[in-house]
Symmetry: C2
Subunit: 314 residues, 2 copies
Amino acid sequence: MKKTTFSPLFWPVSLNRNTIYVLDESLLPERLAYIRVKNYEQACTVIRQMKTRAFGQVLLLFYAFLLVIRQNKGRHSQVTVLKKVAQAFNATRPTLPFKFLTDMILGWAAQDLLLETMILGFLEVLQSSRIQQARQVADFIKDEETILTHCNVSGLMPLIGQFCQQDGHRVSFFVTETRPYLQGMRLTAWELQGAGFEVTVVCDGAAGHLMAGGLVDKVIVGADQLAQNGDVANKIGTLSLAVLARHFNIPFYVLCPPASQAATGKDIKIEIRPEKELLEFQGKRIAPTGVKGLYPGFDITPAELITKHIHMEL
Amino acid sequence: MKKTTFSPLFWPVSLNRNTIYVLDESLLPERLAYIRVKNYEQACTVIRQMKTRAFGQVLLLFYAFLLVIRQNKGRHSQVTVLKKVAQAFNATRPTLPFKFLTDMILGWAAQDLLLETMILGFLEVLQSSRIQQARQVADFIKDEETILTHCNVSGLMPLIGQFCQQDGHRVSFFVTETRPYLQGMRLTAWELQGAGFEVTVVCDGAAGHLMAGGLVDKVIVGADQLAQNGDVANKIGTLSLAVLARHFNIPFYVLCPPASQAATGKDIKIEIRPEKELLEFQGKRIAPTGVKGLYPGFDITPAELITKHIHMEL
């Protein structure tokens, strides 16, 4: 059996001594570079600046807590400090369920558990769960099928491809460019091509045309948040793909994080990003002067449009 | 009653003596400039370069014929020349039904009709038909409704808005940016804002989210080609909007050109544009090196997804 290799996006954050290294996704694919983070305030800034996205942000949160724990070892005030750190992370972005994660860490701390060991153990389980997710969804892919994906699932897509290959199944990929940040074009296409897969970029509006032409066998996307009832929040454009997949009878799979405390999608707050992220491109305005933009970062796909949730086994 | 004003896009081509003036849509919204066209070969080049789009291309074709007719007045070889011109236009782009138009002109020529008078008369009828289309669709819009549109319908959208206002109905607009050429962001939003309407640009993938949130009352788009059975070819992304509108029970109106000879949408050839139009932005590559792109310029929306075709009365 071939050795599995990982995309740099599969585990985009690491901790080495007192420095966290965060893959700067905003520089990809032109440059593979890491941002050094020395404290939790810097970590929060990196998140706000979208230098790393969904999964990278989760990893960064855990590593930032590890850093704080090491810096405050033995101090009586540790729990107070951890609460402050939790608040800072909770305030960074509304869509990601940071509170779920910070509550978990604070819960461990309150129970006087070996916090560092707990976090490191959790990250290890997280890693093997992600590999399991890729393995699980690969089971649904048949030989010569074409997968359509949107945005970026942090290294899972090339891993899915590799598992398909190990099963003797040739797969190819359509990737939506994913406006306005172009994560599909710039991250997913890059990592799939780097792993040797056949990958074709299309504009977001082309998904219907591809499906109508029988060119898509499966749609696989990730999720930024999973509600208790199975609704998911994911990158803007996901809902459109789910509706199209249903219309054209194409299976729609979602690689899910652990469920958040939101009961349904209606309880998930959709983050409205600054309009300039839509109206400017690489710092230059592309929209007519004075025209307004609306950029909801995410949309909600209701559970009934999802053929199968691929859950994490944590 | 307020005077109706026209967007520069409503009639983007004109003929003055021996020069055709073509609005260079590729420079909008930064610059309002016209390309001078002196012969039909230059006209074909302007079309291939997409300096003007659907409706502008139709106008340019007629004015180029007028030019040729004036230049060849009284010559015995006129019909031979006109056939050559027709062939040149037919070869420029597969999606637009140029053959339908050139056949019509050649038909007039074969019947020894006063060709110049016929063409000028046809253009006059074309203009009043377009105004009628805007008037007709405005009848469906109620007070305080929000219209979602895609790409650009050559000046019809501000006209629809003005007719709504004349009816005492306030309307606002969502415009998809329309990747990769951004005609929605750069043309439609520009002309709507210029006409004083409230207009908000969203990325193409946001349409589902807006509809799910009840923010869209009507979808109105144009069509590059209408088949005999009511299927339409229009800018890539239109099919996705039609499927979404059906899913969310939102009326979907199409402003149609005269029907072409295609029996159904299956008989319409979809033009595949050069991949660099997708993978580059303003001349600079934005996709990872070596990654392929697929850019179908149009998609087919089946008649059954269209609530109402707004036909031209020619």
